[in-house]
Symmetry: C2
Subunit: 296 residues, 2 copies
């Protein structure tokens, strides 16, 4: 079932590209593909500008640390709550990378997201990768779960298209969305959360297939059960299983560090449309069943 | 790929039921299963009380008409906008069924949903089936799409559990959620909509697996491209494909009547966990790939 190495080349259908793109867009897109193809190496992240939404979270923090080993140019962390001591710690890890923190709640109106992104683009000139990692796990909070895990991710993605979309003269970009294995098959005791993650997986697979139009490639990283504060204790839907956290943790899980290692490997693969399953040291690109085809 | 007949028996793992249920709940649940098993016939809907959210919509209206051929006891239609002439038409179709209309916007707070449901339960005493059919298709409207298609459906489902959950002394019930084939594989040009439908599919599959705890069974009906006013013209995400509606309609589609016929057949199958794919006269129970298992 599992493979350790995955194809580094984005799965682009060049025939489709030829059909749909206008010449100018096509050239830009070929450049993006060329960049993507040569990027599947450990030096891929070197000198890149990365925005990481929720880069101070449990998985976020260890992934930020792992990213900092790659000599990024800039790591801009957007998170709801400032944690100055953690930001200081990150800043000290690698003098080659400038780490910046800016407060951001993904549930703000999209106009606010665009304003914040404009500040970042004005300052850095270019951004290479956006990582959308904001998430909550509490099935007592239906609106918040959906607003953060799905609507917030869609809005942040939509907002950055103003700066990246090749149809607007942008340079393209890369979106890395944090899904979850529960987006493939749910933890039935948290149906609201699991459903929100299925939405992220499905949404991102569309983005990947729109790359020939927008110039923006996309993939999901989908961690298995990871020992975070999120998972240590959480509410099931209508309390169908009050001990859901304990029960989950009785089975093999991964540490946030293991998760972070696979996470950054997935980013380095840079595979458009990748559905990365990250669990206990395993990094696998899931193959999704085709049940129907809209033929367009 | 397609089969015309499907197993009418709910896919219940009795071993799981034995593990998790307390005796009283288990007895209740066996009764529900017994009901479900004997129900897969054309007389299943006879004398039933059904709540249909969005029962005046394009697919909703023809499905309401099809339901009325089955001699329901009550059909309570909840929809955002009253259309008195359509309600009158429905009332005249079958004198054995009492048709009632009540205004309902699925985006109201859950407390409002509970109030409305209380009125209905007070009046009818029991409700057998809830059909959640509210949906919009407009990828320019991110918040509204997610609020109606996913959050609204989750809230309405959660609200009715107050009256149905066997843990609260309720009698159990049946939830029929309208998903979409885009929940299996997206129409990439409407990623927000498709993602919201993936959420519905995933959410409902959890509900089905929680039936041994709640006494409430659940399945989705997932129409293929159906010639509705929704599909006649709609906005793609960031206008990635302005002609998405026209392109879709160039391929074989089904009428709302064809869809309604399959829809009611699916209801009559009454299969807990069913993932019904309804397209051009075909009714198939999709088998979902298992990519991982939380083991709880």
């Amino acid at each position: 079932m599992f493979t350790k190495l995955c194809r580094p080349v984005p799965s682009i259908n060049f025939r489709t590209v030829k059909c749909f793109c206008k010449p100018r867009q096509l050239n830009k897109y070929y450049n993006i593909i060329a960049r993507a193809n040569c990027s599947a190496s450990s030096s891929f992240l070197c000198d890149k500008n990365v925005i990481f939404v929720a880069g101070l979270g449990d998985i976020g923090l260890d992934t930020s640390k792992e990213l900092l080993k790659r000599d990024l140019k800039n790591l801009v962390i957007l998170d709801r709550i400032d944690k100055p001591e953690l930001v200081c710690e990150l800043k000290e890890l690698n003098p080659k990378t400038k780490v910046t923190f800016m407060p951001y709640d993904v549930t703000v109106p999209i106009a606010e997201s665009k304003k914040l992104l404009k500040k970042i683009f004005d300052k850095l000139k270019c951004v290479d990768i956006l990582i959308n990692g904001a998430g909550i796990l509490d099935d007592h909070k239906i609106e918040a779960t959906i607003a953060v895990n799905y609507t917030g991710l869609v809005n942040t993605t939509t907002a950055i298209m103003d700066f990246w979309d090749i149809r607007k003269g942008g340079p393209g970009g890369i979106i890395c969305n944090i899904g979850s294995v529960t987006g493939f098959n749910p933890i039935t005791q948290v149906p609201v959360y699991s459903g929100s993650k299925a939405a992220v997986v499905n949404f991102t697979s569309s983005l990947a297939k729109l790359a020939h139009i927008t110039g923006v490639t996309a993939y999901t990283v989908n961690p298995g059960i990871t020992r975070t504060s999120l998972v240590a204790k959480f509410n099931s839907w209508l309390d169908v299983e009050p001990d859901v956290a304990e029960l989950l943790l009785e089975h093999p899980t991964q540490s946030t560090k293991e998760c972070a290692t696979s996470f950054v490997k997935a980013i380095e693969k840079n595979k458009n449309g990748g559905l990365w399953f990250l669990d206990q040291g395993i990094l696998e690109d899931i193959k999704w069943d085709k049940h129907w085809d809209p033929c367009i």
